[in-house]
Amino acid sequence: MTKLRFVIFLLPFSIFLFYVSIVHTQNSVNLKAIDTPNDKGESITLTVEGLSEDSTIGEYEIWRSTENDENFQLVAKVSSKQTNFVDTDVNDGIKYLYLLKYKKGNEVLVSPVVGPVISRGQWFHTQRTNVLGGALVLFSFILGFVWYAKKGKNLYIRPIAGLQAIDDAIGRATEMGKPILYSSGLGKMDRVATMASMNILSSVAEKTAEYNTPLIFPNYDPVVMTTAQEVVKEACSRAGHPDAYHPDNIFFVTQSQFGYAAAVDGIMTRQLPATNLFLGTFEAEALILAETGNSIGALQIAGTDSTIQLSFFIVACDYTLIGEELFVASGYLTQDKQVLGSIKGQDWLKAIIVLLILIGGILGILGFNYFITFFNVG
C-alpha cells in the first residue's frame, strides 16, 4: 500500500519529466534540409542546430528515406561539432525525408522528421547576379562606344611609348640589315594575351614585309605557330609583298619551358637580331630571354599579362607595355575605329571602377560594409 502511494505520488512527476525530455529533444535540436543552392543537382544540404554546444554528445547519425518508404536508412555518422552536412548520394526529382539520431548518456534521442526535400540543379547561379550585372554594364559601355566609333566619330587614345617605338625598332633592324625576333612566350591560343600578341604581330609583319626585314618567330605551341604563320602570310599579302613571307622563319621549338628559353637564347646569340619583341604570356624564362637580348645589344619591346614578369621586363627591356597596353595595341597600331571604340569604353569603365573603389573605401571607413559585400562573388 505504501508502495502504491509512492508510485501515485511519483506518477505526475514522472509524466512531467517525460514531457520535458520530449519537448527538450524536439525544441533543442533543429534539423533543416534544403536543396543545395546554386549547384548542378544531386545534392541536399542539412543544417543541424543545437548539438554542437552540448559537449556530452560525440556524434549524430543522419537517416534518410524517400517519401513513400517508411524505412529510414543510415546516411552518415557526423561529429556533433559539424553543423552542416551535404548529402550527395541523392537523385534529382525524388522527395526525401531526414531525421537525426544521437546518444545522450545512455538514451538514444531522435529528432523530428524533416522534409520532403527535392534535389534539383539550378539554371542560374544567384550569387553571381552582381557579376552578370557588372558584365552587362561593361558590355553596354564597350558596344556603345563601338557603335559611336562606327558612326565615324574621332576617338583619342593617349600615346603609348612602347607602341610608338615599334616603328623605330623595325626601322633600326632594317638599317642594320639584321632580323627581328618575335616571341609570344609560353601562352597558348586560349590566352587572351596570345590573341593580343597575334594582333600586334599582324602590324609588325606588315611593316617588315614592306622593308623586307626578316622576322623570326620561334614557337612554344604548335597552334600558335600555325596561327602566326597565317597572320604573317596575310600581312605580307596586305603589304603587297607576298614573297616576303617565309614559313620557315615561324617554327615550333619545344614544349619545355627552359628548353624554349635555351633555344631562343641560342637563336639570339647566333643570329644577333637588332630588335626583340616579347609580347604575350611569359613566366620564369622572361628574364633569361630579356637579359640575353640586352647582352647582344638588341632594342627590346616587351609586354605581358603576368604582373610578376613585368618588373623583369621593365628592368631589362627598352620599352614595356604595362597592364592593358598589351590589349589595346591592336587598335592603336591599326587605328581601326571599332577596336578604338572598345578601348574607349574600357577606359570609361576604368574610371567607374576607380570611383566605386573610392566610394567603397569611404563607406568601409564609416562602417557601412554592405556596399563592399555587394561585390562578393559566389
Binding site: 540543379g121 539554371w123 594575351a193 597565317e230 590589349f327 576604368k350
Partner: protein, 213 residues
C-alpha cells in the same frame, strides 16, 4: 566557287568562335549539370585537339632542322643534335617503354632534367645583372627604387631583423600597401583589357588572329 570558299573560310571560324565564346560566357552563370557536363566535354576536346596539334609541331621541327642540316647552314650541328635527341627519345620510348628503370627515363633524368635545371639556375645571375642595372641611382626615382629594394631585400632575410625590427616591418608594409595597390591597378587594367579583347573576338570585331583585318 572561289568566292564562296573564301567567304566560308572567313565566316565559319567567326561563327564557331562566337558560339563557343558565348557558351563559355553563359556557362559561368549556369551551375546546372547540363552546363557543367558540356563545359567538361569542351575541355576534354581541347585536350584531344592539343595532342593532335603536337604532331604539327613535331612535323615543323623535323622539317626545319632537316633543311638546315642538308643545306649545312651555320650552326647545323645544333640542329643535328636536336633532331637526334627527338629520334632517340621516341625510339627508346616505343622500344623499352617510359616507366621506371627504362633508358627513356634514364635519358630524361640524367640529361634533360639537368639541362633544364641549368637554364633555370642562370636566372640567379640574370637577376643580379638586371638588379644592378635597375637599381643604379641615376635619378631620384631610381634612388627611391634602390632604397625601397634595399629595405625589402633586408626585410626578407634574418639580417634585417637582427639590425632592427623596423626593417622587416617596413618591408611588409611596402609589400602590403603601396606595392599591392600598384599591383591591383595593373590587375584591373589587365582584367578590363582581357574582357574587352574577348568581347571583340567573340563578336568578330577583332579578326586579326584569323589572319584577316
Amino acid at each position: 566557287m572561289n568566292f564562296t570558299l573564301l567567304n566560308m573560310q572567313r565566316t565559319i571560324p567567326i561563327i564557331v568562335c562566337f558560339i563557343f565564346g558565348f557558351f563559355m560566357l553563359v556557362q559561368f552563370f549556369v551551375p546546372h549539370r547540363a552546363s557543367v557536363s558540356a563545359y567538361q566535354t569542351v575541355l576534354d576536346w581541347m585536350q584531344i585537339i592539343f595532342v593532335f596539334t603536337l604532331l604539327v609541331g613535331v612535323f615543323s621541327y623535323i622539317k626545319i632542322n632537316s633543311k638546315k642540316i642538308t643545306q649545312t647552314q651555320s650552326g647545323w650541328g645544333y640542329n643535328l643534335i636536336g633532331l637526334a635527341g627527338l629520334v632517340v627519345m621516341v625510339v627508346l620510348g616505343f622500344w623499352k617503354g617510359i616507366g621506371e628503370k627504362t633508358p627513356f627515363l634514364w635519358m630524361f633524368n640524367t640529361m634533360q632534367a639537368p639541362m633544364q635545371s641549368t637554364m633555370f639556375s642562370l636566372l640567379a645571375f640574370f637577376v643580379a645583372s638586371a638588379a644592378y642595372r635597375g637599381f643604379r641611382a641615376r635619378s631620384w626615382e631610381a634612388g627611391l627604387l634602390l632604397l625601397v629594394a634595399v629595405i625589402v631585400m633586408l626585410g626578407r632575410v634574418p639580417l634585417g631583423s637582427f639590425i632592427s625590427h623596423w626593417i622587416p616591418d617596413s618591408a611588409n608594409w611596402i609589400l602590403r600597401t603601396p606595392s599591392m595597390a600598384a599591383k591591383r591597378g595593373l590587375y584591373i587594367g589587365i582584367g578590363l583589357g582581357t574582357i574587352s579583347t574577348s568581347l571583340r573576338i567573340i563578336l568578330g570585331i577583332e579578326r586579326t588572329y584569323l589572319g584577316k583585318k
